[in-house]
């Protein structure tokens, strides 16, 4: 009888939730990956971002002390209204503490407002728009991996330094394409280069021949393709057919990723320059992350994937140090922490929410270059230091830094 009572008491105490020793909402740290699992951004973000978050959580064995770290996942199908609905439900009902990735800019801007209203946290890895830390900045949001300012600005500077003077733009006729061209034109003017022409094409255009011929006859020595994904791949293939090759007219893509280089193949991609936030072969830590990722996904991490890993890892480190997941405390602590992991050797979060770290100017290898694997398709040309890559705070319209 006595034993039975004792057993019952033990069983009961095991069934009861462990008393919260610290300040964790819902006695769990919940991280939501809100991303594009099937649409046009799914290879740059999507399942890879989920894997990145899982790697970071696995590093601490899924627990902070006794408090479990939980991962939830949703596909916003690139519709901002679905994303908002999901995000609100996560924050209101499911008690999600941190939302990561977001994938597309329109979705990111929409979620930024809700997270601020509910005082939780959001870390953007996939989206590019620099408005997230400019006029739409928030005390609850961090932009981790890259932005259109950094890629456009760094690329313009790096190419001008290596002798590019006259620029021609073929841009996607959208807010994204126009913002890249605007940023790059600004940087080109500052470095006394010249824009000799710009043409615009709709998203999903098939025929770039007339644009390419205009570029060839414009006297430009740099041809910028300010578009992304399949549009970019198509435009490059057509440019190669029209003999755009070598240094007479250099092809650059400010907003592409290594996935596009792989999609093009080494023959067409050779010599393409682009800006990346993550280089797998930078140091031991990046190689370690790449290997872990390869094992999990049989693919190399793209910048947004590595960014999600780094963001979740840094978040969890700060949460476990503070023993709290209260948003403003975590934001403040993150702001005074130096980020150093498999994503970047040295990063810092500014008051406007921008995670400032080095960016890399990459070049696609040709078919004859040395390779360790199929995905080893690019090489590092130059490192753009973080303080040169991102928009200086003095030029920022963010109300938080005024």
């Amino acid at each position: 009888m006595k034993l039975k009572g004792l057993l019952a008491a033990v069983a009961l105490s095991a069934a009861l939730p462990t008393p919260a020793s610290a300040d964790f909402s819902g006695n769990v740290v919940k991280i939501g990956v809100l991303t594009d699992m099937s649409g046009p951004f799914s290879h740059q973000t999507g399942p890879g971002s989920v894997a990145g978050a899982e790697l970071a959580i696995a590093e601490i064995k899924g627990k902070i002390g006794d408090v479990p770290v939980e991962l939830v996942l949703a596909d916003h199908q690139n519709k901002p209204d679905i994303a908002l609905n999901l995000a609100r439900r996560w924050l209101d009902v499911d008690g999600v503490d941190l939302i990561v990735d977001l994938a597309s800019s329109a979705v990111a801007l929409a979620v930024q407002d809700v997270v601020k209203e509910k005082n939780r946290m959001v870390i953007f890895s996939g989206p590019g728009t620099d408005r997230l830390t400019n006029d739409a900045c928030s005390p609850n949001g961090i932009h981790w991996t890259y932005d259109t300012y950094a890629t456009g600005h760094s690329m313009a500077q790096a190419i001008i330094e290596s002798g590019g003077k006259n620029w021609f733009f073929i841009g996607n006729d959208s807010a994204f394409g126009r913002s890249i061209v605007e940023v790059m034109s600004g940087a080109i003017a500052k470095a006394s280069g010249k824009v000799v022409g710009e043409v615009w094409h709709p998203t999903g255009a098939n025929d770039y021949s007339s644009f390419i011929m205009q570029a060839q006859s414009s006297g430009a020595d740099v041809l910028v393709l300010a578009n992304s994904g399949t549009d970019f791949v198509r435009a490059v293939k057509q440019a190669r057919e029209f003999g755009v090759d070598g240094d007479a007219l250099r092809l650059v893509g400010p907003s592409i990723s290594m996935a596009d280089i792989l999609a093009l193949g080494p023959e067409d991609a050779e010599g393409l320059h682009y800006i990346d936030a993550f280089y797998w072969n930078l140091n031991d830590k990046t190689r370690e992350l790449t290997n872990a990722f390869l094992e999990k996904r049989q693919a190399i991490p793209a910048q947004a994937h590595a960014g999600v890993y780094s963001a979740v890892r840094s978040y969890l480190a700060v949460v476990s140090e503070l023993k709290s997941d209260e948003a403003s405390a975590v934001m403040e602590k993150l702001g005074s922490t130096e980020i150093s992991d498999g994503f970047t050797p040295s990063g810092k979060i500014r008051a406007d929410g921008r995670m400032v770290h080095d960016m890399y100017l990459m070049r696609a290898k040709g078919p004859d270059a040395d390779k360790t694997a199929d995905w080893d398709a690019v090489e590092l040309v130059a490192t753009v230091p973080g303080d040169k890559a991102y928009r200086p705070l003095a030029e920022s319209q963010c109300p938080l830094v005024k």
Binding site: S38, G46, Q77, I82, N85, T129, A175
Partner: protein, 317 residues
């Protein structure tokens, strides 16, 4: 299809109970289901009700209804965000935008019949999409973000989800009752006459063109209202609202629920919005599952869910 459609001579006493049940359900549901999700459902239900008036009762298939929905949404969002007007004014402007666009589309579209009319609506809607994409006021792919919900009539603070929910429910019930009233009015009978045989309607002395234009305008107005409510609820207007896929979705909602039935659009909207939301956790399988469900539904009961109920229950719904 005919079995799913209305016969005005059938008894309709049970509709009182149906609407009462629906009203009770709207009152109770937010305790169990996330209110924002319910509001979204009601917005799309209103949109589908507007669409159903045109397709179900007048037999006109429009593939451009996203234009009215989106025009309503963008106008309301712009009026609330840039001019800082109250939500009721924003919704009024949005609804008016739907009406004006509806009359403009209608004047051109009803000059042709069948697939030609459908293609005219599709073409016009694509033009509206392009204008929204290029206009400096619409924020291109980012849309109009951060629309303030504001205070209704200066009294009710809509930032509270529950207050907003009550407002949206009232508007939704009014639209549903209005569509029911219209369906069984003499005008509704005229619509069915035009649907069943246009030449017979003409020979009876009905002005078919005016009737078509009127129902087109009413349909567009309701769509504009639905779009502007959505902009206020979600505080955003985006390209998705004016995109071709939204035009397609409203057709699907109406087909799944039951064309030419009073409750069909509501049920269809509920099914589609639910599948979009609750399947989101399945990641890349969402589109596959959705497609599968549609094929099964359309193959198994062509008259739609409500149409099936009507056949089983032998009463109009």
């Amino acid at each position: 299809m005919a079995s799913a459609l209305l016969n005005p001579n059938e008894s309709r006493g049970h509709f009182v109970w149906v609407f009462l049940a629906l009203a009770v359900a709207t009152a109770i549901l937010p305790a169990f289901v996330y209110p924002l999700f319910l509001m979204k459902m009601m917005c799309f239900a209103m949109f589908a009700i507007g669409f159903n008036l045109l397709l179900g009762y007048c037999g006109l298939l429009s593939l451009g209804h996203a234009a009215f929905f989106g025009a309503g949404g963008y106008t309301a969002a712009f009026v609330a965000a840039s001019w800082g007007l109250s939500p009721e004014a924003a919704v009024l402007f949005g609804t008016l935008a739907g009406l004006i666009l509806g009359v403009a589309f209608g004047l051109l579209a009803i000059r042709r019949h069948g697939i030609y009319m459908t293609m005219v609506t599709l073409g016009l809607a694509q033009m509206v999409y392009f204008i929204v994409l290029q206009s400096p006021y619409s924020g291109a792919e980012d849309g109009i973000q951060g629309v303030p919900r504001g205070t209704l009539f200066g009294l009710f603070d809509l930032r509270s989800d529950m207050t907003l929910y009550v407002v949206v429910s009232v508007v939704f019930m009014l639209v549903l009752l209005g569509s029911y009233r219209l369906t069984y009015s003499p005008f509704g009978q005229v619509l069915r006459a035009v649907r069943d045989s246009e030449s017979r309607a003409t020979s009876l002395g009905l002005n078919v063109r005016t009737i078509k234009l009127t129902v087109f305008a009413i349909s567009a107005t309701i769509s504009g209202l639905a779009g502007s409510m959505k902009a206020i609820i979600f505080q955003i207007a985006t390209l998705v609202d004016v995109h071709l896929t939204t035009s397609g979705e409203v057709v699907l909602m109406t087909l799944i629920g039951g064309v030419g039935t009073v409750l069909g659009p509501v049920v269809g909207a509920a099914v589609l919005v639910t599948s979009q939301n609750y399947l989101a956790g399945f990641g890349q399988w969402v589109t596959f599952i959705q497609g599968f469900i549609f094929v099964v539904l359309v193959l198994a009961f062509r008259e739609g869910i409500v149409g099936l109920l009507i056949r089983l229950w032998r009463r109009p719904l």
